[in-house]
Symmetry: C2
Subunit: 132 residues, 2 copies
DNA sequence: TTATATACGATAATTATAGTCGTATTTATT
DNA sequence: AATAAATACGACTATAATTATCGTATATAA
């Protein structure tokens, strides 16, 4: 429970890989996949998603690839997670108001309390701090 | 991502239900299931698990049932989660040393850093605080 | 023109979660 | 002693979410 998904795991591996590269140099999905034994296609999707979200920069064409974005220092872990996987909620009712329980629900407040703590924690922690 | 499971959700609902009862009074799986529209059998298993872990007390036989345990005040949210679902780790490698990555893994330290923060947060928060 | 890279939608496979079934055990009540 | 209502629990099925693959389009350096 409360485990990171593979998508996020691969994203973290890729970020660290790119951070370790010489500044400005590009690396490819293939290169990262091979050096860490990850499924290339799935990793590629995650990289594409990160590029779309400006966590990394993409360069197309042969001898293209990805590099870490300059503003990646300012990204919080919360944003990183949410950019990749959507709202970071321990339960749907935190964002979604639709719930079968309706009036019978007695844990809405507790859930929100727990969620707020978790979101707050990941807001304070930057991707940089986590991966350096 | 990072969502609570139904097991934990049902457990929280049950705990709140029991907290709202007159002190010492028993309630049954059936009663909780009916009043909150939960699947009785599944809830029953969760209640049994909580009883086994001394979060609640079980009384067998007809007119038996469950009540909140007196020491439930001291239980942290981390313990509550872990008693119900096992180790609270965002990734297996935090507890498990077996990993396909072996030497190629570059995120062991980051993952542990993230996990430590999360475990620390849930250690400081009690079940009582969360559900009151 | 070709080769190599990103981009991306659709779909298949796998795994984890959620829920059910059947049966045994306990015990208050009659 | 018999019955009924509750907990206890292992095995199984169904469902949902995650993970992975496939096929194709687009960009661009050589």
């Amino acid at each position: 429970m409360l485990k990171l998904t593979r998508k996020v795991e691969y994203a973290l591996i890729a970020v660290r890989h790119m951070q370790a590269m010489e500044s400005g140099k590009l690396t490819s999905a293939k290169e990262i996949a091979l050096s860490h034994g990850l499924p290339q296609q799935l990793l590629a999707k995650t990289l594409q998603k990160m590029a779309k979200e400006n966590i990394i920069e993409a360069v197309q064409g042969p001898s293209g690839g990805y590099r870490i974005s300059s503003n990646s220092d300012k990204i919080s872990l919360k944003d990183f997670f949410e950019k990749l996987e959507g709202p970071l909620g321990m339960m749907d009712c935190y964002f979604d108001s639709e719930c079968i329980q309706l009036g019978a629900c007695n844990i809405r407040t507790p859930i929100q309390r727990i969620n707020d703590n978790m979101r707050n924690m990941f807001s304070k922690m930057t991707l940089r701090e986590a991966t350096q």
